[in-house]
Every structure is written in structure tokens, then in C-alpha cells.
């Protein structure tokens, strides 16, 4: 079992066109959900892994990958794999920036994440004004991967992408 991605370079610009339907600013490549994509006998074999088991976006992502590859002239087979399990560490720096620009605070490290979700520590930066005077509203948010926060300085409510290790 390997945590390395195995993606044919020719396919990268094609796959970057597919975004997470629930976070449209984030490409699936920056999300780290594409684990391998290789061409064998003119067919592209793609392995994707879910962020959360129940992530309803996976079916759509699979269909979208098929569509962009079809446009690029490839038939494809998509397989959903569970191991190794996805972690927020696989989100690229560009992906983290896209999240922040979109108004979703990017995941902190595992320890800091525990502090904000369990111990009420105020360190998540508000995506609107940058203040760290923010508080947890709910450990669960609009999708499985997020928690709800609010800024006590500018009052902006925002999502925080939970750390998953």
C-alpha cells in the first residue's frame, strides 16, 4: 500500500478541470482525491478515494471525470478505493488557498484542530477579516468535512474544513 499518487502527466491538465461539486473552487487534483490515473491500451484507469465514507459528491466526481476524459478522446474506468484513507494533508497548498479565498478556513494541524473543536481555543482565522477571535458554533457543518464557526469581531459566520488524519 502506498500513499504516493501515480498520475500520468498528460492527464493532469485534463483532470484539473473537474472540481468538487460541493466546493466548486477546488479541483479534485488539489483536493487529493485522485490517487492514480494511467493509460493502458487507450483506456484511462482512474482511482479516486472519498474524503468521507458518505460523501455524496463521489458519484458526481466519477461521472465528471468520465466526461472530461471523453472530451479529450479517452474511454475510462473509474474505481473507488478506500485504502489508504484520505487525509486533509493531501490538499495541496494551491487547494488550501482556493478554500480560503472561497470563504472556508483551511484545516489546521491535528493538535490545533483538537484545540478548536474540543477545547474552545480561538485560533481559526476568520476568512472575512482575518481575526482569530472566532468561536465554534457546531462541530458539524453543511457537509461532512466542515464545522461551523463565527467571527466575534466582524460577526461573519463561516465554515472550517476539519482536519482529518
Amino acid at each position: 500500500m502506498t500513499t504516493e499518487q501515480n498520475i500520468d502527466e498528460i492527464l493532469i491538465p485534463i483532470l484539473e478541470h473537474v472540481s468538487d461539486p460541493e466546493i466548486p473552487v477546488l479541483s479534485i487534483m488539489d483536493m487529493g482525491v485522485v490517487r492514480s490515473a494511467v493509460i493502458k491500451n487507450k483506456i484511462v484507469y482512474v482511482e479516486i478515494t472519498p474524503t468521507y465514507s458518505g460523501c455524496p459528491a463521489m458519484d458526481v466526481i466519477g461521472d465528471d471525470i468520465k466526461t472530461v476524459l471523453k472530451v479529450a478522446g479517452y474511454d475510462s474506468r473509474i474505481e473507488l478505493i478506500l485504502a489508504p484513507a484520505w487525509t486533509t494533508d493531501w490538499i495541496t497548498p494551491r487547494g488550501r488557498k482556493a478554500l480560503e479565498d472561497y470563504g472556508i478556513a483551511a484545516p489546521l494541524g491535528a493538535e490545533a484542530d483538537k484545540d478548536v473543536l474540543l477545547n474552545g481555543k480561538r485560533i481559526v482565522k476568520c476568512t472575512n477579516c482575518g481575526s482569530q477571535n472566532t468561536r465554534l458554533v457546531s462541530q458539524f457543518g453543511s457537509t461532512a468535512c466542515k464545522a461551523q464557526f463565527q467571527c466575534d469581531d466582524c460577526q461573519e459566520p463561516f465554515d472550517y474544513f476539519k482536519c482529518l488524519k
Binding site: P50, Y52, S53, G54, C55, P56, I81, L82, A83, P84, A85, W86, L117, L118, V137, S138, Q139, F140, G141, S142, A144, Q148, K162, L164, K165
Partner: protein, 251 residues
């Protein structure tokens, strides 16, 4: 069927998550507050996601026309082997959180062991699920403490919920024939070995929450053999309504 023990073993794990997921899903739009409503349905979604992985695997073992959907929706009451705890209804939020907590503590201990299984599909599902389930346990533990060590009213309601659900906890550690066969093959988890740890973890939280640990030594059982409480028929009729009304319908 070849691998019949493995098939039954998978159902023994997955049915718990299916029925608990259904119970939590019933709270959609009915939670006591927006945040807790969303939390319960998020946990429900995690459980359904896990169930899909288990049932897809079970369907592959069964072969023929079996799919994750036929396994989820087209069995009769006696064929569901979930523990009685998870089918208990949402009487109030204290019950919902007590049920969740009493299951989460078990679920996490179970998945920690399942990660060591010789079956690579089960270890993959376990490693994926464990991240989600540890988050559920944090959430439910938090509410046990908050309500237990809260106002007189919240304390009494939480105590009542724990007292009445306690009778369903022992069944978590009963072994079925499929369990024993799978433990022997290094695939299954020996649930009997989790019991001491389970009660020590649960009791520590109850104490911190200023709740009394129930003294009753009499426990209900039957779910693992398909003998369910009176609530189960109602869950199934809800879950199976679409398939009964429109046989073979698909999304």
C-alpha cells in the same frame, strides 16, 4: 454460498450502522436546534457511507443479482441482525445522545480491532470509518457530560435515558456463530474481549457527567439473532416503503 460466514459477519457489522443511520436520519428537520440537527444527519451520512462499503462487499460475496440496495432494502425483519440498542427510538435528545454514546464507544473499540483483520477489504473500511467514528464519539461524549452535568432537568433526563438503554449494552459483546468462525480465521474481532474496556470507558464518562452507573445486571438480547423489539417493524416499513410501493425502482 461460499464464504457464508463472512457474508453473515459483514451483515452483523453493517446492519448496526444502517439502522442507527436511519434513526439519526429521522431527525432531519426535527433536531432540537439547527446545529444538533445537522450533526445528527452528518453522523447518519457517515454511517450510511460505511454501510455502502460493507454491503457492496457483501453483495460481491453473495453474487447473482445481489446489490447493496437489495441487501439494504429487500430483507425481512428476521434477516436483520443489528443489536437492539441501535433500533431504540428517539424519545428525546437525551435518548438520542445516550444511544449514540453507548454505541460509539463500542463502535470505536470494534473498529480499532477490525483494522488488524486479515481481510484487506474490512481493514480498509475500518481505517476509513475510524476517523469518522472517533469524531462521533467526541460529539456524543460531550453531550453526555453537558446534559448530565447540566441543569436538574437535563441531568434527570440523561439519567433516565442511560438507565433505560443500559439493558441493551451487554448484547454488543455476544458472539454469533459467524463471529466465532471469523475470529478463528483471523478475520473477525473477538467482541467478548472488548467488554471490560467498554464499561470502564463508559463508566468514566458517566461519573464525570455526575450520572449514576446503572446497577441492573439483567440485559436484553435478540437482535443479533434477528429477534427485534417492537420498534423495528416501523423502521423497516419506513425504509422499505419505496421498494414495496414501486418494486425494483432505482434512483
Amino acid at each position: 454460498m461460499k464464504n457464508e460466514n463472512l457474508y453473515n459477519y459483514i451483515l452483523g457489522i453493517a446492519d448496526n450502522s444502517l439502522i442507527l443511520g436511519q434513526r439519526l436520519g429521522e431527525l432531519t428537520g426535527h433536531g432540537p436546534s439547527l446545529e444538533t440537527d445537522i450533526a445528527c444527519t452528518n453522523m447518519s451520512l457517515d454511517l450510511f457511507g460505511q454501510v455502502r462499503s460493507y454491503y457492496q462487499y457483501a453483495a460481491k460475496l453473495k453474487g447473482g443479482d445481489a446489490t447493496e440496495d437489495t441487501i439494504a432494502f429487500l430483507r425481512k425483519e428476521r434477516d436483520y441482525v443489528n443489536v437492539l440498542l441501535v433500533e431504540q427510538p428517539d424519545r428525546d435528545f437525551a435518548y438520542t445522545m445516550a444511544r449514540q454514546f453507548l454505541f460509539d464507544v463500542y463502535h470505536l473499540l470494534f473498529l480499532q480491532e477490525l483494522q488488524k483483520s486479515h481481510d484487506i477489504t474490512l481493514t480498509a473500511i475500518a481505517k476509513k470509518s475510524i476517523k469518522e467514528v472517533s469524531y462521533h464519539q467526541r460529539f456524543s461524549t460531550d453531550w453526555i457530560k453537558r446534559l448530565g452535568d447540566g441543569t436538574t432537568v437535563s441531568h434527570d433526563k440523561m439519567q433516565e435515558a442511560i438507565d433505560s438503554l443500559w439493558t441493551y449494552t451487554d448484547e454488543l459483546f455476544h458472539q454469533t456463530a459467524a463471529d466465532k468462525a471469523m475470529v478463528a480465521e483471523g478475520i473477525g474481532v473477538d467482541v467478548t474481549a472488548l467488554k471490560v474496556k467498554y464499561y470502564s470507558l463508559v463508566n468514566a464518562v458517566l461519573e464525570e457527567a455526575t450520572l449514576k452507573i446503572p446497577e441492573s445486571k439483567w440485559f436484553q438480547k435478540g437482535g443479533k439473532k434477528g429477534i427485534h423489539t417492537e420498534h423495528f417493524g416501523y423502521i423497516l416499513s419506513n425504509m422499505q416503503y419505496m421498494q414495496l410501493a414501486y418494486p425494483n425502482m432505482e434512483w
